[in-house]
Every structure is written in C-alpha cells, then in structure tokens.
C-alpha cells in the first residue's frame, strides 16, 4: 500500500504600479490593479476554475477516495474575492466534500519567518482566521512561503500548535535519504515533516508537455507505474506544486487535466490511495529526525533562500521593510496595515534577483519588471513613502518602548474616560429620577460633572500625573485624522 499526498499552492501578490520618486510623499496608492485583475482572471479562467471543476468531479466519481490539500495565501484570496468571486464559491463547494484540506501559511506569503517572529505569528493567525471565515476549517498543517524551512521556524510552528509542516527535499539536507517517508523536526521532535518529492512533482508541473523530455508523453498509467516501482518501504509520495501548473504552466491542450483525472483509476488498481497531509500525519510514523540549520526552500537548483535574499539589493530591501515592523504593529490605521501586508509579499524580492544563469531565468519570466534594478528602485520608492507614512503616525524620535507605554496610557485613559462618561450618564439619570425634575438638567456642562465626579471616582491617583504629561504628546496619535482624509 502506498499513499499519494497532493497539495496545491495558490498565490498572487499585489503588484506595484510604476511608482516614481516624484510620487514619494504625494501618492499613497501603490498597486497596479489592472495587472492584478488581468493576471488573476486569466489564470483563474485557464487553470483554477477548470481545475476545481475537475477535482470536484473526481471526488464525486471516486467516492471521496480522492483527496487534495490547498494552500492559498491571504493576498490571493483577497484578489480572488475581488476579481473572481466564483472561484471562492467553487472552493467552498470543494471544501464541503470533506476531501479537501486547507493548510496554514503566512497571510502575505511573506519572508517574516526569517526576519520577524512576531510578525510571522500574527500573519499565520490572520491567514488561518481568513481560511476559517471562508471555508470553515482550522488548518492543522503548516506550509511556509515557498516551503522555506529551518529548525528555528520548526520551533515557532510547533509552539503555535501545528502537528506538521510541509517543506522541500533539498539534497544538501536529505543526502542519501528519500523524501518518501514522514520525518520529524530535530528542534521540535513532535512536529512531523512532509517532504516534497521533487522529481515526481516537477514531472507534472514542469516537464509534462515538454516533447524533448525522455519520458514524453507522460501518461497516468506510466506515472502510477513509477510510483508503484518505488521500494516497498517508501510508502509516501508527496506531490506539491503550484495550482496553475494545471492549465497554465501545462496548458489544457497538453492533456494535463485528462492526465490528473485518470490517476485515481490506475492508482486504485495498484492499491495506491490519496491522503491529505493530516491523514498522512496521523497514519504514518516518522522514521527519523531532520536537522536543518540553514533555511531551505523549493526554489532554484540550490533549494535555498537565495532567490529572495541572494544579493545586496534584496537584503537591503527586506531589512528596511522589517526595520519598521514593530512600529507598524503599533499602528491602528487600517490602510497602513493593509499596505504593510502587501509590501511583504516575497514576490517583490524575487523580482530583484540578479541570478543570470538558467536557474534565474524563471525569475524574469514571472517579473513585471525588465530588470532587477528597476524592481528594486520601484519597490524602494514605494517603501520610502510607506515609511514616511508610518513615521507621520509615530515619529521615529520616540523609541518603541516609550511609544508603547504612551500608547498604553492613552488607551487606558480612553477606557477610563469612557467608563466615567457612562457613570456620569447613569448618575444623571438617577438624579433626574430622584429629584422629580426640580434640577435643571441642561445647566451643567457635560464636562463639568466629569470634573466633579473625578475626585470621587479616582481610584488610581498615581496614574493621573503620568497620564497628564503624555496628553500633550497625544498629538501624533491625533494625526490619524488628516491621514484618514486621504482615503
């Protein structure tokens, strides 16, 4: 008996529009909506929608024996909701079959796992909340952006309560070992690891329609035969790929849909089942621990993070971005939060890659820019503007700790004022009842009783003087008002 575990990734970033240095400080809208709309609609029509339809048919036909998992980034979900809402409906339908598992990841498909643990946790929560809201599932298995994984990430993921994580089969980590087993993490032994079978996955997503490939044409028969040929003890085949491999990377004419559709029939003949990652975790036992001291991913020949962080441009951009992470999390402005999410998408850094070899050519294929330098320039211009906006909210001259305590005081004060207001209201009502209308209600200013009441209600006199001083410094917080106007 063997098991195939299918998992598809869907991600789209919010692409930046051409943003010139003249726009810094003047224009706070950064996105190329036209391109986003165009791309997601095209991919959805050619790939996502027909593929969903196919999966639904397959699940119905095979009596729920066919199962898959999805990982959809928050930004992709937002775009799909906005431009292709029918996809969300179709996904809900799939979710309702019970044969589809949704995986957890960072909301913005970001690199926060490598740079900003707090942000990482926040984003994973935000993403899982979104999945729950749309599909009613709480993800149990975690998959990081582009399968980036190392021991530190494993610890974080485990501490957030995940049972398993999905990652790549980097040769420098696996060595002689096969990806066709369940592993566990060295740093968090209870966290199970599912590794991508790179060869068999890429046979479908990259080589399927290549006539120069020795195994062309690939048929379901042949493919299942390969899996069957694997050594007896290798029972797990993890096929991880981008969802747009079905219909976009491998066009419909190549017969990719028919190929996938035929898999369950041949699999059944060979006693091969389809499991979701959660099933895999509960049914298999890990064979060994994997130590991954340096981050690995599923991209490029090196299977490392050099596609996003390989050159100084990328490193600088990421560093600059996460240098304001703590600040942004203090902000309450909704638009700042949103831009913060969108700017974190790993794609922006991918476009800045200067790998000029064959490996790197895939970078220029996906990039909307004609060169990595233009990508960097554009991104940094946007980031400069974004940073000024954050700065306008809270000046950089106050350090985070101080700011934090100030914000806390302000918030406490707000709560207290509200509480006192309520009390005043209540008392006034009582007065009105008690005095049978003899007291003129309109006469006392609303503020006046508040002052009067205060000494009576003041339970924390120590707080007051401290709170008074920052009152002057409330100014930055109040600036929210002009910022909001720009909406």
């Amino acid at each position: 008996m063997k098991a195939i575990c299918f998992y598809f990734q869907i991600h789209q970033p919010f692409r930046l529009k051409h943003y010139r240095f003249f726009d810094i400080g003047n224009d706070h809208y950064y996105y190329d909506d036209f391109a986003d709309d165009d791309i997601i609609t095209r991919i959805a029509q050619r790939s996502y929608l027909p593929a969903n339809e196919m999966l639904l048919d397959m699940i119905k036909e095979n009596g729920k024996k066919f199962k898959v998992a999805f990982s959809i980034s928050g930004t992709a979900l937002e775009q799909l909701e906005q431009y292709v809402p029918e996809f969300i409906d179709s996904m809900k339908e799939l979710a309702a079959t019970g044969c589809v598992e949704f995986l957890s990841e960072t909301y913005a498909h970001s690199l926060s796992s490598l740079y900003d643990p707090d942000e990482f946790v926040a984003q994973v929560k935000a993403h899982d909340a979104k999945i729950f809201q749309l599909f009613g599932q709480k993800p149990k298995v975690f998959r990081n952006t582009e399968l980036i994984y190392d021991d530190d990430i494993a610890s974080m993921v485990y501490s957030m309560g995940f049972k398993a994580a999905i990652t790549a089969d980097a040769k420098h980590v696996l060595g002689w070992r096969s990806p066709n087993f369940l592993y566990s993490s060295a740093s968090a032994p209870k966290l199970k690891l599912l590794l991508k079978n790179g060869k068999l996955s890429d046979d479908i997503s990259f080589r399927f329609s290549n006539p120069e490939w020795a195994s062309y044409p690939l048929t379901a028969d042949k493919y299942i035969h390969w899996i069957n040929e694997l050594p007896q003890e290798e029972q797990l085949v993890n096929l991880f790929m981008n969802y747009d491999a079905l219909g976009e990377l491998q066009p419909r004419e190549s017969g990719i849909f028919e190929f996938i559709k035929a898999l369950p029939r041949f699999a059944a003949e060979s006693d091969i089942e389809f499991w979701t990652p959660s099933e895999v975790v509960s049914k298999f036992k890990p064979v060994a621990e994997l130590a991954v001291p340096y981050p690995m991913s599923w991209t490029d020949e090196a299977r490392d993070t050099s596609a996003w962080l390989g050159n100084t441009l990328q490193q600088e951009a990421v560093r600059k971005l996460y240098s304001i992470g703590e600040r942004v999390r203090l902000c309450t402005d909704r638009r700042i939060k949103q831009d913060w999410n969108y700017l974190q998408a790993s794609d922006h850094f991918f476009y800045m890659s200067t790998k000029h070899n064959d490996d790197g050519s895939v970078h220029s294929h996906y990039s909307p820019y004609d060169s990595p330098y233009t990508a960097f320039t554009n991104y940094m211009n946007v980031l400069s503007d974004f940073m000024t906006r954050v700065e306008e909210q809270y000046p950089a001259s106050i350090d985070n700790e101080e700011l934090n305590s100030l914000l806390l005081t302000i918030r406490n004060q707000e709560q207290e004022i509200e509480k006192l207001h309520r009390e005043v209201e209540m008392m006034r009502n009582n007065i009105v009842k008690d005095t049978t209308g003899d007291f003129p209600i309109d006469e006392p200013e609303p503020a006046a009783p508040a002052v009067e009441e205060k000494p009576v209600e003041k339970k924390k006199p120590a707080k007051k003087p401290a709170a008074k001083k920052p009152a002057a410094k409330k100014a930055p917080a109040k600036k929210k008002a002009p910022a909001k106007k720009e909406k």
Binding site: R20, F21, F22, N311, T312, L313, Q315, E316, A317, T354, H356, D370, S371, Y373, T374, F376, T377, N378, M380, N381, S384
Partner: protein, 420 residues
C-alpha cells in the same frame, strides 16, 4: 599566422574609441600567441607600443623613388621605424607617383587626424597600402573602419589574400540617418569586397545587414572589451570634502550622444534632491545649446561643464563620480561605460548602445526615456544597496570582458577564411 592590419588611430595618440579598440584587439590577439601582426597607421609618433605589433607609418612609406642613404633615413624616421624597412618598401614602389606632393623621402604626408581633406587622405592611404602589401608577407588583411576600407581592398587586389573589414561604426550612427553619400559608398564598397565583416555589436550587425544589404552569413559580431586599468588610476580617489553626489556624462557633446536627455533627467532629479551635482564633461557642437538648456531649466547652479578632458583627467572625473550616464541615441559599441565600471562607478546606458548587449549589471533605459533615467539616478544616489550592488557586480562583470577572448574569436574567424 600573419595579419596585415590597416588602422587610423593607435594609442597613445587617439581621438576617439577607434584607437583604443584597435589597440585592444591587436594586443588581445597577440596574447593568444602565434600571431604576427603588422599594423599600418597614417602617422605614427614613435611612442606607440611595439611589442605585439609591427607598426608601419603610411607617412614613412615611399611611393616615389628618392636616392637617399641609410644615415639620412635614420635621422628622418629612425625613431618611428626601422630604416632598413624603408629600403624594403622602396623596392616595391609599383607606379610613378611623382605627380603627387611627396617629400624628400618620396613619402606622402598624413595628418593622422580627421582633416577637411579627409577623402584625399583616405585615397593617399590606399596608394601607400599598395606598396606595403607588396612588401609585407601576410595571410590575411584586416581593415579597421571605413577610412581604411579602400586600403584593404587595394591590398587584397595586390596579394589575393582574404580581406576582413571591422565595422567600428557606420555613417548611420554618426549622422542619425542622414548619411553622407560618399561615405556610404566607401563603406558599401568595402563591405562588398570584404570576405568577411566583423561588427562590434549586434546593433551594428543589423545596420550592416539591413542598411547596406549585406548577406547575414558574411557578418559576425565580435564585441569590444577593455584593457585592465593600472594601479595608479584604480587608486584615484574622490576629492576630499566632496559632500554631494556627482552624476557624470562623459563624451562628445553631439547629437549622437544624446546630451539633451541627460539635461532633462538632471532637471527632474535636481528639483527633488538637494545634494546632487551633474557634470557634463566633454566638448562638441551642442555644448552651447546644452548650457542654455541647463539655464532654462533653472539648474545651472548644480549643473557643470568641464570642457574636454583627456588622459588621466577622465579617470579623475570618474573617481569623483557616483553615477555615470551614457544616453547615446545610437552607439555602435560605447567603451566608456566599461571604463566607468572599471572605476567602480554604477552606470546607466541607453538600450540603443552596442555594449548594452553584453552588460548585465548596469541600468538600461531608452535614450528618450528621461523619466526612467531620472528614476535610475535617484535610486542609485538614494539607496546605498543599489549603489553597492551595481558597483561591485559591475566591477566583477567588467573584469571578465577581456580582449584576449575577443582576439581568440577573430583568430578563429581568420582560420576559417584562410582554410576556405
């Protein structure tokens, strides 16, 4: 293998990129070994490097018999050429050119520059080539640029050896399309008579194929390269006390180089950035117009003209620069961005330059796209990572572009021609 090359310039007395490229290629071929190169120039000064090529001056080659003795020749041209060679050449005079104005040695005088009577000088050069071709034994003939095509053709007719012409530029580049019919016909004639044509970029190759109607299989691109700089130049430093960023344009201020786009981009950047200065180094017929334009854009206080720079001054200028820009409208190759990169200066070049075909770690823009140019300038002076990445990667890249590789390509081409 013996090659007879005809050129017009040779360092250190150069007027443009042609001399540098001819020198680099010759040296690169010599480094590949087994090459015996004779290089003819109109007027040698005697201080040309001679270790890898035998230099012959056209103005030292007799076309009319004069009865002079060894000592006299030694005193006249001894510092430029071996006197014995003068007598070898004299033995191969093939016609009576006494009707021409010749000097006491029976030689025609050359300016070696680009004078008013350039066409006459080109013609004289080809007369001299006849004598040289009869004297010097060679396997192949190689003519650098249109000025020497007639000489190459003549030598080919005399010796029957294959002729390679090297197109460093065409008149379409120099004139933005308004070609001079005489120049065009000389170029076309050279290309028709050549056994093979080498162009310095695919851009030029296309021009040769499309505008001159040459069969594509006869045209090969061999990109130019750069000579490594010496320690002294590499160690030049920016002047102390430099506080603002310097953005430099370096070259002839002519229509071909697109100076007006540089001024327009400068205006955009300067209206947003305070600590930047723009420098236009060079001279040319559009200089006054550019000064007026800078004044009109109200940026004259931070836009400077240095006039013509030569020799070391060029490198001092580069050492003080943070960005180098070459917005050429049409540039067959354009060696100066490579020199800027050698000095560690991030470069912005137009997509219409030949060197854009081989460079990755530069910013490429359309020459007319002043917005993109301004964006790139801003990015380099504002974001340190951008500056450092371009500087370091550019340096690493340009150090790989060496003449010996170009030389090997040319030698290979020679072999194919000779064995044909």
């Amino acid at each position: 293998m013996k090659a007879l090359m005809f050129g017009w310039e040779f360092p250190p007395h150069i007027l443009g990129g042609l001399g540098t490229a001819s020198y680099g290629l010759t040296k690169g071929m010599w480094e590949n070994g087994d090459m015996d190169i004779t290089f003819v120039i109109p007027k040698p000064w005697g201080d040309e490097p001679k270790e890898f090529a035998n230099i012959i001056g056209a103005n030292c080659t007799p076309v009319a018999w004069r009865d002079v003795n060894m000592d006299y020749v030694q005193s006249r041209i001894g510092k430029v050429m071996d006197p014995q060679f003068y007598f070898d050449l004299r033995n191969h005079i093939y016609g009576d050119f006494n009707y021409m104005s010749t000097n006491d040695l029976g030689c025609i005088e050359f300016s070696g520059r680009y004078p008013e009577n350039l066409l006459e000088e080109i013609n004289n050069y080809s007369i001299v080539a006849g004598v040289i071709a009869r004297t010097v034994d060679c396997d192949i003939i190689h003519s650098h640029d249109w000025l020497t095509y007639p000489a190459g053709i003549h030598a080919k007719q005399v010796t029957g050896k294959p002729l390679v012409i090297h197109v460093h530029a065409t008149d379409f580049d120099r004139s933005r399309g308004n070609v001079n019919p005489t120049v065009f016909s000389i170029e076309k004639d050279g290309m028709n008579n050549a056994d093979h044509i080498i162009t310095v970029s695919n851009l030029t190759r296309r021009t040769v194929i499309e505008k001159y109607g040459i069969s594509p299989d006869k045209v090969t691109t061999v990109h130019n390269a750069v000579e490594p700089l010496n320690e002294e130049l590499l160690n030049l430093e920016a002047p102390p006390g430099k506080t603002s960023k310097v953005i430099t344009f370096l070259g002839r201020i002519t229509m071909q180089k697109g100076p007006e786009y540089f001024v327009e981009a400068a205006a955009q950047v300067l209206h947003k950035v305070n600590n930047a200065q723009f420098v236009m180094a060079g001279s040319g017929d559009m200089m006054d117009k550019m000064i007026r334009l800078a004044a009109k854009r109200d940026i004259a206080d931070r836009f400077h003209f240095t006039g013509f720079l030569k020799g070391k001054q060029v490198y001092e200028m580069l050492a003080a620069s943070d960005v180098y820009i070459m917005p050429s409208v049409s540039e067959p190759f354009g060696i100066s961005p490579l020199e800027a990169m050698q000095m560690g200066v991030p470069s912005i070049i137009s997509k219409q330059s030949g060197c854009a075909e081989i460079l990755d770690n530069v910013i490429k823009i359309d020459y007319w796209d002043t917005n993109a140019m301004a964006d790139a300038i801003y990015s380099i002076i504002k974001y340190p990572a951008m500056y450092n990445e371009l500087r370091e990667q550019g340096l690493a890249e340009v150090n790989q572009i060496t003449w010996d590789k170009a030389g090997a390509k040319v030698i290979n081409l020679y072999r194919n021609l000779i064995n044909r």
